[in-house]
Amino acid sequence: MNMSKTLAVASREYWAAVRSKSFLIGLILMPVWMGGGLLAAKLGEHNKDTSTYQIAIIDRTPGEALYPAIAAAVAHHNRYEIADSNGKPTGPVFVVEPIIPADPGAAAAVATQRLNLSQRVRGGELLAFVEIGKNVLDGGGNPFSDDNIIRYSSNRLTFYEFINLLREAIPSAVYQHRFASTGLSREKLDQMLRTPAVTQSGLIEQHGGQVTFESESKRAAPLIVSVVMIMIMFMVAMLGTSPMVGNVIEEKQLRIAEVLLGGIRPFDLMMGKLLGGCGVALTLNAIFCIGAYALAWRFGVAGDITLESFGWFVFFSVVTTFLYGSLFAATGSACTNIKEAQSFMAPVMLLIALPLFFLGPMITNPTSNLTVGLSMFPLSAPIAMMLRIAMPPGVPTWQPLIAAAGVLLATIFCVWAAGRIFRVGILMQGKGANYSTVMRWMLRG
């Protein structure tokens, strides 16, 4: 490889990228993307649903025994839980409407009643209707039969407030009825039925001779640090390398590639582009990491960013840039215009974003077989392993080393394969290549 020419290309690519508008936009937008969730949550807090909802209740228990408990819970909710201390509305108001149950012996009548109520829900008059089985109070028989369940029917699948109210109010009322025969007072029963609270707490730490529980932010720090690290790594690698597709296509369309190839080998040219992209990514990394570290310091969690985890972060960032960059360079060289590139990009993007689909399960259980497997698989390892390194309980030292070796080998293979595709594709004009052609270029060079 001719390093001097490769560095000349890398330097051009770097300065062309960092002076572009898209770099500036990425620089500004990335914190917005990353902070978007928090911002949305904050906005959500200030934009609560304060509507009034009507719910029909069909209580088939003897004497409609549970309806009063529901009505009482609703009254409590409307009185104490729908406004903050300043009286500002913070939640929905509920209105319950008792419905006389249809004759349980007449199946058609029951069905008609349900249909009518469903129509009222569809029409927006009702939020939902609730049917309380006739045997709910004694609890005998098949627990899943209509007679033993409380059915909540609505077309608002994501509205949980009222169903949560039912889940809190009804069990207590049912137990009250069941224990009433024991002759115990209501107060005694309440005391007996009270569920002890299970709360989550951090570890103990010592500050100036005082032993205290870790603060909420301290407990959340490893999770936040790891998620921020992998988001920075992923977004920066994407920002640094995805423009390569457009750049390579531009070089083909404007015939710049011909001039370049008159002075530099195709592989050196591609490596120059990858180095340039890597430089852009590292610049962005530096900017965002300084910003993130300043925030971490401000909130007292900077100590959770260890030198070891930062070292792995830099390593995985660099190889990820080369890995993604080689895929994008090969994509650009195989296409003759942006439209073609879009269809080629779809599977590449899917491959790149794959580990992010598993982010939830990985965070929930960082030691599961799935997470460990993903952290060892080269294409997902940078993100999955980074997450495991930064989150308790951490990883045995050999695992990041094995993952790093795998990622390194995969990157070398991708760069090699992309180089072969690039060598042929960069001079192709007219019709773009299809997948089989690209495969042939890769195998035969």
Binding site: S4, K5, A8, E251, L254, V259, L261, G262, G263
Partner: protein
């Protein structure tokens, strides 16, 4: 001593033979002209010499070396369709392309080139602000700034007005005077005649002409009669019917008659005098333009005269 040696080179794209068993030798310090119709294989040959493409068969030696890497810094290639980064400043583009040739161009050198080509005030402008002619001149500077030993110029004069074409011609000659070898392709036959020491014509991937202009013209014989005939317009319409005349090209003031190898020129002159007043009569060699058309053009429209 040859700057370029191409021996039995063949290049195929998806079953289409672009260059077919081509051989040529370009002497050091010469201007070698490549002519041929569009799609004849000129650019593919230039790209193989520039090491951008690899031949399927045959040998390409450049500046004495078969090694694809060895001579690349001493060879500069100007492609037919100019390729410059539109968002870069002119000076940055020139510095970048010089670096790709292993040459560190100083600010003063770049400025000197820009001044020579009347582009001094455009140095700090982005390429996208330049006109087509100016871009072409910038591209030419990018090609020669590293002072290469071999220049491969694909259509260097296309799209240039006569003034700029003349500037470019002078710059090419200056490179030759410096000691460089120039291989250029062109559709401008007059430029090829005036500029090139040797001319090669390639047609459908095969070499059909190779030699100096004089050699090529001699090979085609002195079969052109250049005449100026005044008189009624009908007289000129009868030229193609003259015995021994195979083809007539009427340029308005001058008519060129291509004659059969055994045509009797004295008889043709007599016939012309019978048609009108012969103001000019000259036995000439065919121009490069004529030779080009004879090889690559459609079949002559005028039928040979009866009895020829």
């Amino acid at each position: 001593m040859y700057a370029i040696e191409v021996e039995h080179v063949t290049k195929t794209f998806d079953g289409h033979v672009a260059v077919d068993d081509l051989s040529l030798r370009v002497p050091v310090g010469s201007v070698y002209g490549f002519i041929g119709p569009n799609g004849s294989g000129k650019t593919t040959t230039l790209r193989m010499i520039a090491r951008i493409l690899y031949p399927d068969r045959g040998r390409v030696a450049v500046l004495g070396s078969d090694d694809h890497e060895a001579a690349s810094d001493r060879v500069s290639y100007l492609p037919e369709e100019r390729g410059l980064y539109r968002q870069m400043k002119v000076v940055d583009v020139l510095r970048f392309f010089a670096r790709l040739k292993g040459f560190s161009a100083s600010r003063a050198e770049i400025q000197r080139w820009l001044e020579r080509l009347d582009l001094a005030k455009w140095g700090q402008q982005k390429v996208e602000a330049l006109s087509k002619g100016m871009s072409q001149k910038v591209q030419f500077i990018a090609t020669v700034i590293a002072e290469p030993d071999l220049l491969l110029l694909d259509e260097p004069f296309s799209g240039l007005d006569p003034i700029n074409a003349e500037v470019m011609r002078e710059l090419v000659l200056e490179q030759v005077r410096r000691g460089a070898t120039v291989l250029l392709s062109t559709h401008d036959m007059a430029m090829a005649e005036n500029l090139c020491d040797t001319i090669l014509m390639i047609h459908r991937g095969k070499k059909v002409l190779d030699g100096t202009l004089r050699q090529i013209q001699e090979d085609h014989g002195r079969d052109v009669l250049r005449v100026r005939l005044s008189g009624p317009p009908q007289a000129r319409q009868k030229l193609s019917a003259l015995p021994g005349v195979m083809q007539v090209t009427d340029f308005g003031n001058v008519q060129e008659l291509r004659t059969a190898p055994d045509a009797d020129r004295q008889n043709i002159l007599a016939q012309l005098m019978a048609l009108g007043n012969v103001e000019h009569f000259e036995v000439a060699s065919p121009s490069l333009h004529d030779i080009f058309l004879r090889i690559a053009g459609p079949a002559p429209s005028a039928s040979p005269a009866p009895g020829v």
